[in-house]
Symmetry: C2
Subunit: 217 residues, 2 copies
């Protein structure tokens, strides 16, 4: 019982800090999304393509979450946007306090969109509100079409699903229609995009939608 009680307290404390983050971001009119997926689904590549597409159209900052290394922050730094790397040293998710500390170091007055790339993990980040406007879950076609059923928490808590690596569909065992159906069975409200960072399919549609959401915030 002790463990459950403490876990509840941890989540309650996290939610309180998340509300502070949400209020702070809202005061500055920042649209923040929390990008979650398995390791290797292509979160950083989608982020890169989004930065390319929105360059000159809006102001973006990035918070990178990783278990170890600053490899992702170094990739993003090439795009000349403010980027902060959080290394969790074994932790399987970001939490609201880590985001609180990170955004305190960002020029919030000059940012319109904050992209938080969470640790690659389809389980743990589902329960941790960071104060984001919405969660965006990425699943790649190479992971198969059953992932929404096997990891429902993440798909239930997300507002957007990006199905990535559509260029690999001819080579893998993944039925796109089945994947969409499985996702909508878990969460009928999901807005779904299909992308390929290799062919750039769907990037303009996703980035355009994101920009219009941020501008109407």
């Amino acid at each position: 019982m002790d463990i459950i009680t403490i876990e509840r307290k941890v989540l309650e404390k996290n939610d309180a800090v998340a509300q502070q983050n949400r209020a702070l971001l809202s005061r500055h009119g920042i649209f923040a999304f929390n990008l979650v997926s398995s390791p290797g689904s292509g979160k950083t590549s989608i982020l890169e393509k989004t930065l390319e597409h929105l360059k000159g159209k809006t102001e973006i900052a990035v918070v990178e979450g990783d278990v170890q290394t600053d490899l992702d922050a170094r990739r993003i730094a090439a795009y000349d946007v403010p980027v902060i790397q959080i290394v969790t040293r074994g932790g399987c998710h970001l939490d609201a306090q880590l985001i609180h500390d990170a955004i305190g170091n960002l020029p919030l007055d000059r940012i319109k969109i904050l992209i938080i790339e969470n640790v690659g993990n389809l389980v743990c980040p589902a329960n941790y509100d960071l104060g984001e406007t919405m969660k965006v879950v990425v699943v790649s076609t190479t992971e198969g079409d059953d992932k929404p059923l096997k990891y429902p928490g993440m798909f239930r808590n997300a507002s957007v699903l990006i199905i990535n690596k559509t260029d690999l569909v001819p080579y893998v065992n993944c039925n796109l229609e089945q994947l969409r159906q499985n996702a909508l069975q878990i969460n009928p409200q999901l807005k779904i995009f299909e992308t390929s960072c290799t062919t750039k399919q769907g990037i303009a549609e996703w980035a355009g939608w994101l920009l219009s959401r941020a501008q109407n915030k």
Copy 2:
């Protein structure tokens, strides 16, 4: 401090049960491996190909760990081996007690190899000893070559690395030699296999090695 203390106690309790599992499996001469990876790396497909290859050559049982659903156990049941499904309902890893309860329901006298398919997660299962003979980590080429550096705990604690989906190398951004180097930088003792469940490349080598290890136990 409370949380850290309790987490240590949880791991200590887990390790004590893991030692009981290890002793029980050892008494029955069972070679047990704990198959870990990201969601969608192909653990279940490798398991299926391994069962096909070793059919009639040894006796295998399977424990399937999933956050939700018994989809994987149903796939494995088609191979006519004893299979037990553990559903963690949100938990991001199996633990020794779950395995203790599961193997109590298996005909241990008639089993030579026990395959435990963990929850798809490159972070949490690294710290939980289940009493297995060894951990086998799977990474697919579609995840990129940087995963050992970004998720070092899992690669440090594994004895074997299976690089899966080698048939997709021409279509993805993954340098196999770099992936091998990154893995060996984290853990120079890793035994590495390269497999494709589509072309069956490497399956005979992996399954043959597994069989000889089990026979020499």
